[in-house]
Amino acid sequence: MNNKINIKIYLILLVIFFCAFPLHAYVGPGAGFAFISSFLVLFITFFLALFTFIAWPFRFLIKVLKGQKAYKKSRIDRMVIVGLDGIEPTLIEKYMAEGKLPNMSKLKDQGSYARLDTTTPAISPVAWSSFMTGCHPNKHNIFDFLSRNVKNYLPDLSSAKIGTPKRFLPLGKYKIPLSKPEIKGLRKSIPFWNILGDEGIFSTILRIPITFPPEKFKGHLISGMCAPDLKGSQGTFSFYTTDSAKTQKHEGGMIIPVKRSSNTIETYISGPVNSLLKKEKELRLPMTIFVDKDKNNIRIEVSGEKIDLKPGTFSDWIRIKFRPGLGMKIRAICRFYVSQTDPHFEMYLTPLNIDPEKPALPISHPYIYSVYLGKLIGSYTTLGEADDTWALNEEILSEDSFIKLCYDNHKESEDMLFNAMDKTKKGVVACWFQITDSIQHMFFRYLDKNHPALKTGQTEKSVQVIEKLYTDMDDLVGRVMKQMNKNSLLVVMSDHGFKNFSRGFNLNSWLYLNGYLHLKDGKKESDEWFKDVDWSKTKAYGLGLGGIYINLKGREAQGLVSPGEELKTLKQELNAKLSGLRDDKMGKVAINKLYDRDEIPPGPYKSNCPDFIVGYNIDYRVSWDSVTGKVNTTVFEDNTKAWSGDHCIDPSIVPGVLFSSKKINTKTPSIVDIAPTALDLFGIDIPGHIDGRAIIDMSALTSDKNTKHIGQ
């Protein structure tokens, strides 16, 4: 009925429109807006098209003159790599045997499947750095998420350094930067897509870890794991609550206590530090929240945006801008989630992601690639580790809301992948998916009925979460397979596997109780980051997710142990005591072995490797307190957090998986083999520094040309 009325109205308006004499053909700004905008688009399109057509022969000629013979020696047209972080081989094999993963089973039958040797340690930034460089960590310099600062024993981010500008011009209360801030990648060696690019082969690299800051190469890249949020952290959520009982410190986030006054809450969004001010302080964005209980609606007004939200639902990405002064704007995107309004108001705000359409830091190569994706698929997460595991671990998010967040983030990555596959018909497409890692970290406890976390934390879900995750990934693989042709290679892989984490081992407490780490006089415990450690008496300390460092004279600022015999003796002692260490309460071996730095092959960055990497047994991992440098008298403790699965253990028991649509020539592939395989498939000589080897069976590749391809 309404449609009929609308049609009539339009018809009347059209009649009036055509009755008007020519002078009135112009119907004001509305038509002007449409006309100008459309004309501009057509104008730009026309000129770009013209430029493309005119420039194309010249570009082609330049390529020929430069001697680039891209794809001439290629054995395939395209290599697609789907990186499913942390997929566990035993689970894959179980679900395949049960017939729950038809696409992966098909991939295995028509190509190959094998367990994939990971790196030491088996941690994502390390493993993915080896994936892209084909080198072990001693050549790419990433040994953990964190590296230690030898001057003050504090942790630094291992993958990138974000500094401040070196020169400023003082102007009143401001200091105007005269140089760019230093943003430096610390991962060394060369990603295989750079080598391919030098030969004219195009790659699209999506969210692969340790690609921040992005490097120049022939292709497109959007940074992944370790790309920071707007605060420069690896992801700091905000939690707003009227409940005074919940205002204690939470890991991974900040708590903002709020007061409700006649259903209105006046608060703020905590932004980055305003480095334009001489006296630096946090930027804050005022925010008003209206709670309408009758309509079960929450209205959030911030940065000129009005967001209506129902409790228990996430907002879309909201674009906000901070104004540090001097007319500058720093833009971010974020999502809101109101978990409850009664009896207390509680709201979660995601970490402030760098706005991909107006990035405050470089997050893509070329710069416009992040803008392009933002325009094409809408705002998307740019934070390296977007699945906010800390928010669930600290019980700020429920299990369901965490899963929703993970799947939303995953959808964005999927959209990027399929767009890249559509555009990259020749070359490499590689995309990393975090969801497999995040969900397993947080829900692995459901696979162990006796897990301590099931007795204390949230237990809304069941083992189905993990199973569904695997079947969803199988579905993704199926959709990717449909896009492949016979001259393409599909690789589905994980960087490491996953195992149960039910007991934490406080390495620093053990070192303290065994006389290797000393506290300041009168102290029996130390707070975070070795606050009360007496370095002048300490011989060894643990930092990061698996490293033991000797407090070495000449290296550490307050080094105690002399290089040579003393060092050797100490290492032998530690190795003997820790290898095979038992957890008496559980009657299990907690540490299988220590991996000694002296036993790894030489490499330019070997000296940055921890002196030992601890190879924990299944069920064990370094404890939460030990990671953050806390020392006390508890060595073993139950892990009662939702974060209940892990891989920072003995690498030999957490291999990843490798599916290849073509036959491989080995039963023991390694993650360092992927890069040389890519180079070999595109007919490029494998550089001598690469540790891995090409693993695609070339004879099978030739015969494959006459057989059905996986997409059929």
Binding site: F17, G32, T45, L376
Partner: protein, 276 residues
Amino acid sequence: MSIINIFFGKLVEWILFPFRGMSPWVGMIVLSLVTGIFMLLVFRLTSNQKGIKSIKNKIKAHILELRLFQDNLKISLSSQGKILKCNLKYISCTMKPMLIMIIPLILILIQMNLWFGYKSFSPDQTAILKVKLKDNYNPVETDIILIPSSSAIIVETLPLRIEEEKEIDWRFSVKENGVHHFDLKIGGWTITKTVDATTSHLRKISTIKVRKNTLDQLFNPGEAPLLKDSPIKSIELTYPNESMNLFGWHIHWIIVYFALSVIFGFAFKGLFGVEI
């Protein structure tokens, strides 16, 4: 019709009132600004803002695609196709607000034409007065007398009667500045037509007087209409066309209005949060 004309006539008059003694550019800028902002708000209320934003983003994405995949002719061609497709979608998204804006905009433009469309007569200028009769009147046989209000306007010719057109014309000349009028006596009726020979910068000039309650009245609202049973259909004076002078360049006022209203629209879209 009269009520609509009175409303829009007063509205434009009220807006322009403070600027009567100034250059027409001032009035034009103010009217463009006011109507530009008004239409911006109408556009926001009547258009699918989310849809427009989404389509514009897609267009921008495909334009960036041309840059990102410049080596790939196939993608470039496909992107250009997608841009054109999105452009059509964009135009279709603007149709609804455009159609809704037509009525008030046409009425305002009609009023603006009275203010900016014509020049008043200057001394010694000659012009034609055209009288159109109803179909049942024969111009050759109809008695009609044209009486100038003063010696400031002189009728220079006898009436020219054009039977096929049902029209009677006189040539006259203006001798002095001021507001004058002609009285037309026909079949017991006396009808007045104003002759504008003023010197003010911005003034309302009505070229034609038409009958009441017709569509013509809607498009010619400058003067009180002729009564319906009057023997005359319309009385028209051939005023010279006015143009906007921009550094010696004479531009039709509607072009100026087009440019200014669009500029103001784009300039204020951010302030009013309108996606156009």
